[in-house]
Structure formats: C-alpha cells, structure tokens
Symmetry: C2
Subunit: 494 residues, 2 copies
C-alpha cells in the first residue's frame, strides 16, 4: 500500500497560495462551529521523522483560536504513567466537548515505534490494535470527530531532510537517534506502519495517507482532509438535531425469556454474631496477608460496589478497609459528574481514578451508573445506554489485560428491607443525613431498576469480570460475603 | 522541647474505652457539619516510624463517612513530580471544600527526611519552611482548618516496636531501611524534627505534639485535638455568618498619592509595516534559538497576559508561538472557574497548569483575575482581594525560586481604541464571535478597572517578577514589544 503511494504529487507555490488562505479561514470558521456544537475534535499526527508534522501543527496553531485547542506532544510514558493501562494517559488528555486536541504522535507509537525498538512483545500487538480500535470507536460514538494523518515520505527524502536539519543550528538538536534509525531501517519501519494502517483504519476513525515529499502538497491535503471531516461531522450534527430519536417506553418487567437473577438470591441467609466475628476477622487477616503479595507483585485491585440505596455499601466498605494499611487503598465515591466530567466521555472520570500498580481502589458506585440511574432518569439516551454494555465489557477487558484484579458487587436487599432501613434512618439522629428525598424517589422506581439491574448482570457478567450478587438482608452475612469474595478473588489471581 | 516531653503519659484500657466511642461519634458528627459548611479539613500526620500513624488513620477511616475524606500516603516525588516546584504535588491533592484530606507524611518530609538523608541543601531549608508557612497560611485564610500532629516516641520504644514488627509476618515488609536509620540516628533526627516544629508552628497551622509511647494515650490525644480543632473552626464559621463584613464602596478614582501607571504609557508609539516584519522575524528566530537552550537547561517559562478586552492578547500570543516547536509550549486560556475549581483555593487551577521543566506555558489571563474581575464583580470579598496581592507575590516568588522565567504583560489600549475595535468586530463576520455582551458591560466599568489595574501593577511589580505594560494602540508595535520582551527576559535569565 505505502509502496504504491505516488509521492511525486506536488503543488506550485502559486497553486498553494491560491488555496491555503481559503482553507485556513474555513478551518477557523469550522473550529468555531464545532465549539458551538460541543463537538470534541481529535487530530492524530503520525508519520516519518521530518515529514512535516511540526510545520503542519504550526500552521493550524496560526489560524485556530488558541483558547479552543491544545497540542499534546507524546513522549515515551513516564514511570508514573507506566503504572496504568497504556491508553490511560491518552484518555486523560482527551479534549473536552467543543475543543480540539492535537496529538503530535499518539497511542500509535505503541504499535509502531515500540515495535521497531522491541519495547513490545509482538504477541501483544493484535490485542493492542483491538484496544485502540475500541477506544476510537467509543469516542466516535460519543460524538467526537477523529482525524488521523499518516505523513509519508520516501527514503531518499527522509535522508535528505535529516541531513539538512542536522546542519541547521536551529533544528539539529531536535533530531533524536530514533529518527536516524527510521532512515536506516526504512523498509522494516514502512512494513510495520503499513500493518498498523491497515488494521486500525476503521469506519469510526479512518487513516488519511498524506504524500509528504512535497510540503505544499502535504499541507493542502492535510487541511482539506481536516476541513472536510469537520464539515461532515457538523452536517451529521445538524441532521441529528432535525430528527428526534424515538425514546422507548420504560421497561417495567423482564421479557419472558430474560433471566431474573435478583429473584434467585436467597435473602434469608444469615450469620450469627459469633460466626460473623470469627469469619470477618479471619478474612481481614487473609486480606492483610494478600496485600503484601499485591505490593510485591505490583498487582492493582479494583473493587466496585453497586446496590440498592441502604443496601449496606458503606458498612461493607468499612469492614473491607478497617485492617488495611491506609497508604495502599483509596475509596472513591461517585455521584453525579461535575462540569469538567460532563464535558468528557462518561468513562473518563473512572479512567482518571484507576488505582496504580500495587494499590487497591474501591469504587462506591461506578461506570454502571450508565445503565442504571442514567438509563432510568433519561440522562443517557436509549442508544447510549444500550451501547454501554459493550463499552463496559471492553473497558473491563482492558483492565484485566493490564493485570487488574477486578471484583464487582451488587448488594441486594428486598424492597421491604429497604423500607425498614429507610424508616430507621429517618428516626436516628446519627443516620438521618444518609436519607435523602432522592432515595424515596428512587424507591418508587424499584420495578424499573429491577429490570435494569437484571439486564446489567446478564450483559456484563463475563468470564473475566463476573458479578457477585450479595445477599444483603442480613448485614453480617453480606459483609462476610464481601470480604471472603475479595480475598478469594485476589488469592485466585495471584 | 521534644526532650522534655513527658512520654510516660498513659491511659488504662477502661479509661480509653470510656472516652474513645464518644470522641469517634463526635468526629463523625463534626465531619458532617464541616461538609455542610463547605470547610476543607487538612490533617497532617508526621512523626517517628512505628509511632502509630497507621493505627490512627485506620481508626479515623472507621468512623468517618468514606465519601468525605481521602488518605494521601506521601512517597518520594516521582520523576514527573520533580519537574515542578515541590509544593505542587500537595496543592493538587488538597481536599475540595467540605472534604477531609489526610496526609500520611506530607510536605514536611522535605525539611525532615530529606535533610537526614542529604537530599536537600541545608541552605534551602529556611526558604522551604517559609514556603510551607505561606502555603498553610493561604489555605487557612481561605477557610481550611489544618491539624498537624507530631507523633513522638522515645528511642527505646522506637527500637522495640521496629524489632517487634520485623518479626511479624504481616507487617515486617512495610518497614523501610529509612525507618531503621531513624533509630540509629535518633538524636540527630530529633534535633531536626525539633527545628522543623519550632519554625513551622504558626497561628494558622500549629503543631500538636502527641506523646505516642502509649498507643491509647496517643489515640485519645489525637482525637481530642482533631475534634477540638473542627469544633472551633465551626464556631468561627457561625460567627462569620452572624456578622456581615462591611463592603467598601467601589473605588472609581486613584487616591492623590497613588501612582497612575497606565496614564504614563505612550500610546502613540507605532511601527511601520517594514520595521514590524523585520523586528518580528528577528525576535522569532531569537526565540527559537533560546528554546533550544531552555530545553537543554531544563528551565520552565511562564508568560502571562492580562489586558483590556480587545487589547490584542490573542494576536500577540499567535505571533509569539507561530515559529515555536508545538511540542514544547501550551497556551492555557482562563475564564470563570469550573465547579471542581470553585471548590478549591483560587490559586489551585494555576498550580495545576504550570509548565514543566524545559517547557513554555502561556496563560491567557491568570491569577490576576482575583484582583481584577473578581474584585470588581464582587466574586471576591474586599478582604479576599486585598489579601491576594501578598499571596500572589508569594506564589510568584516560589516560581522564581524553582527556576521559572516569569514574564507578565498588561496589554494597554485607550478607551477610544477599544470602542473602535468593538465596532469593527461587530461588523466583521469573522470577528463577531469575539465580541460578547460581557465586553460591553466591562467597558462601562472602565474607571473601576483603571483603579484596579493601577493598584495591581503597583503592588505586584516586584524585582523578581516585574510587569511589562505594552503600548497596544498600534498592534504592530505591541506584538514586537511582546516578542522582544520575552526574548530579552529569557536571554537575561539563561
């Protein structure tokens, strides 16, 4: 593919100047429209050294409103960044709605430069590409427009430009030894690039090959690609505004063939006080022992809690953490997203809080809010929450691939038990604050939640990330079940 | 001081149990009240190894609402964190309003452990203590309550506990070599600690010495200290609510003795088109050359722009960056803070965006909003904006100490020139978006701003961080003045 690219395309200075000004004004105008329409724009610049990526960014910078974009130069990951799944550092740099993020090199270095320099096991490459494709599709589905440019130069041109730059006092210092390696292993690098381009050119985020032997041609082609992509995205936005998505009626009952996981839970299970203290104590000691191994093996643990209001999440979390070294765990409660989080993909705020290697992260509520409260309250459209099951499975698979030990709890209680707990809270001066009007409102929607929870359990209980449904009517039983499930999961994984 | 501490204090098991439950319930209750009153709570735990810091945190964790606090274990700074002034990583971890941040070790490691292990030049210690005191005072003034506990154990107890822990399978692995060093150099460490305690015990954030040879005594004393501090802070809050701070009338004119810096600017200064292109081009090349040296010397640069609406900030920033390598600079526009930022000290969002070593950060508006728009619109109280001059000077001094090259611009134009530019914008399809109702509203307050700007220039133009007032009526002149000021400042600093 790359071999047959016609690198002789060129433009005269006059032809270039005739076009460039108009394109730049278009671009400035389109950027503003995307801003108004809250569309995030992601520009990925990859290609050979000295292929003109820097020039291109400079020309974009010149015409776009500087308040509306940010350039992210991508270097090898820092020690800190290596503590997390490799895509995390890119997630955290994604532009918020309406802004432009320009990635000068990107997540693709993982399947290109890292391959050339043997920093990635070749067996990991297909999976990494899959993760990248899922990442880009998720962003695209969330409304982002992604423009990926591969700036291609011939071997001769690459050599010539590197040599010229090396002689130029102003630029020589920016040439890395890796750049010379590209020239030396041109054919091998080209082959790797070709493979990357083929497997990661998707409908959501296609690659554009830019013939960059001639800078003027490259500049015009890149600009044309960018403006065309923005224009088409804006047209899609207008179309969407004009048509209203039909909203499905809320589902209050499971369909006959749908499994009812919640009704299968034996809520009569109980523990005596004596058994409770014995088993809880044992499990806590086990956990403390496992913590040492987690630290030694640098394994991260993520434990998430979902459940009915008043199901006992707080109490279970307390018992889980009370013996742990406070330096190595953190509890993150999640409620409504703040304004910064609202301007990002819904998974963004969870990426941000992932525990690092060796640490334990405990999430009090989680990304499952997408298919629970957001579904039921209509904060997510039907299309959005339906898509979320797959997105969540992809996300969790990435965590497990990155060595995370993932434990997911649904704390289940009966509606009667909930009512009783609400009444108790109402009457206790120490617990009143825990009970809000929202809790009562949620309670009225119990049947809706019952359907949503069952469908969530069905669609996101995977072999690598299974749910544990906790029988919560008896608090002692529930707490021991949580503790023992966690220790077993960690022991099994180590 | 530490030598004379009576470490024989102890409590019987009964006396302990009589008190602890009540204190814990108090604490839970006070935490909730602080939450409701939006008070940030900062708990700093320092002291000898094995002095019971971990136990104490665990007991706090047990009783407090886990959604309301976060424990920050402090390790040596990562490579990434070392790119910034040393307090930045603590700023970024500060609890938002209403939350509790527990620092298990803290910024004090810089003047204690780092001293013991020769990781800090002794000459830097007084200045570092000063920075810490300013940091804590700023947070205190902003409404935070800061509780600092020094957990003190005797040499014998320290040895005994380390030996015991070393034999315990569950805990041995947590003992660091540094902990044994403390026992070995007990007297030296104690002397350093004493110095630290003396110089950093301030009215805003006093130290409490906790006799920790007896764990029960230590626990009760720590809890009593914490609850007393929260209670007194809440009383202060009630008092403040009950009394209304008198608001000064807006100052529309400078007092007779106040210098009028703006009126001294010669706004008739102009550049011809030929001179403009020549000087701009030269300065851009100079800057490009200097960038190399910045990179080599790992010097960070921060350039901030303030100025009248339509004074030409955007245009000046474009000329400044158009020739730079886009990988090494970032433009950060600042407007109203988002909800996350509103829950923090006003300087927090600027700390977050500081450029790292070797990079150039360009701030389009800055922390000076505190004494300009926030003052005039009443978003900051009189006391707050008056205090801000000193806080800002302290902040900038820290940047300069940390090797930042700091350049501050006020872009000045006349009121007539502004009107003319507004009218132009109104009529140009490409510039309309730049003109908002707010601009017209700000314009009506020109005299108020004139006073505020003059007072800002007077109070924050320091020897280490001077202002440059740019004569902006002629755009060409202004842009060249900006470029040349930047290159001169960088050249002078390198």
């Amino acid at each position: 593919m790359l071999e047959t690219l016609d690198l002789s395309h060129c433009l005269s200075k006059e032809a270039y100047q005739q076009q460039v000004e108009g394109l730049m004004l278009d671009l400035a105008n389109l950027q503003r429209q995307c801003w108004q329409a809250s569309i995030p724009v992601i520009v990925v610049l990859e290609g050979w050294a000295a292929s003109g990526k820097g020039d291109y960014v400079r020309s974009l910078v010149e015409y776009m409103d500087p308040r509306g974009f940010i350039v992210h130069p991508v270097w090898p990951p820092t020690e800190q960044e290596q503590q997390f799944p490799f895509l995390r550092r890119f997630w955290l740099r994604l532009p918020p709605q309406g802004k432009v993020g320009i990635f000068y090199h990107s997540w693709y270095t993982r399947v290109l430069e890292d391959r050339l320099f043997d920093r990635i096991d070749p067996a990991q490459v297909p999976q990494t590409i899959q993760q990248i494709n899922a990442f880009e599709r998720q962003l695209h589905d969330d409304g982002a427009v992604i423009i990926k440019l591969w700036m291609h130069v011939s071997k001769e041109k690459l050599r010539k430009r590197l040599k010229k730059a090396a002689k130029d006092e102003l630029h020589a210092w920016r040439i890395r030894p890796e750049d010379w390696q590209q020239a030396k292993h041109y054919n091998q690098y080209r082959q790797l690039a070709e493979e990357m381009l083929i497997y990661s050119s998707t409908g959501a985020a296609p690659w554009t090959l830019v013939e960059a032997d001639c800078r003027r041609w490259a500049s015009i082609k890149s600009l044309t690609t960018l403006t065309a992509a923005l224009r088409s995205r804006l047209e899609r936005a207008q179309l969407q505004q004009a048509t209203t998505e039909p909203q499905l009626p809320a589902q209050t009952k499971l369909a006959p063939m749908e499994p009812d996981w919640l009704s299968k839970v034996d809520l009569t299970q109980k523990l005596s006080e004596v058994d409770y203290h014995r088993r809880l104590g044992e499990a806590q000691i086990d956990l403390l022992k496992l913590q040492r191994q987690l630290d030694r093996d640098r394994r991260p643990v993520l434990i998430l809690f979902e459940g009915w209001d008043a199901a006992g999440k707080g109490g279970a979390i307390k018992r889980l953490t009370s013996q742990l070294d406070p330096r190595s765990f953190a509890v993150h409660p999640f409620s409504a997203p703040n304004t910064e989080e609202q301007q990002q993909h819904y998974l963004w705020r969870f990426w941000r809080r992932l525990p690092a290697r060796g640490a334990i992260g405990i999430f009090d509520r989680s990304w499952y809010g997408r298919v629970l409260v957001e579904r039921i309250e209509g904060f997510a459209s039907d299309r959005e929450w339906q898509r979320a099951y797959g997105e969540i499975n992809e996300f969790e698979a990435q965590l497990v691939t990155a060595d995370y030990i993932l434990v997911k709890f649904w704390l289940h209680i009966s509606a009667d038990e909930q009512l009783q707990r609400f009444e108790e809270r109402k009457d206790s001066p120490f617990k009143q604050y825990k009970l809000t009007d929202e809790d009562w409102r949620n309670r009225e929607q119990w049947p809706l939640y019952e359907v949503a929870v069952n469908q969530m359990l069905q669609r996101t209980s995977t072999a690598i990330a299974p749910w544990t449904i906790v029988a919560g009517n008896d608090k002692r039983f529930a707490r021991v079940q949580v503790l023992e499930t966690v220790t077993q999961a960690i022991a099994a994984a180590l």
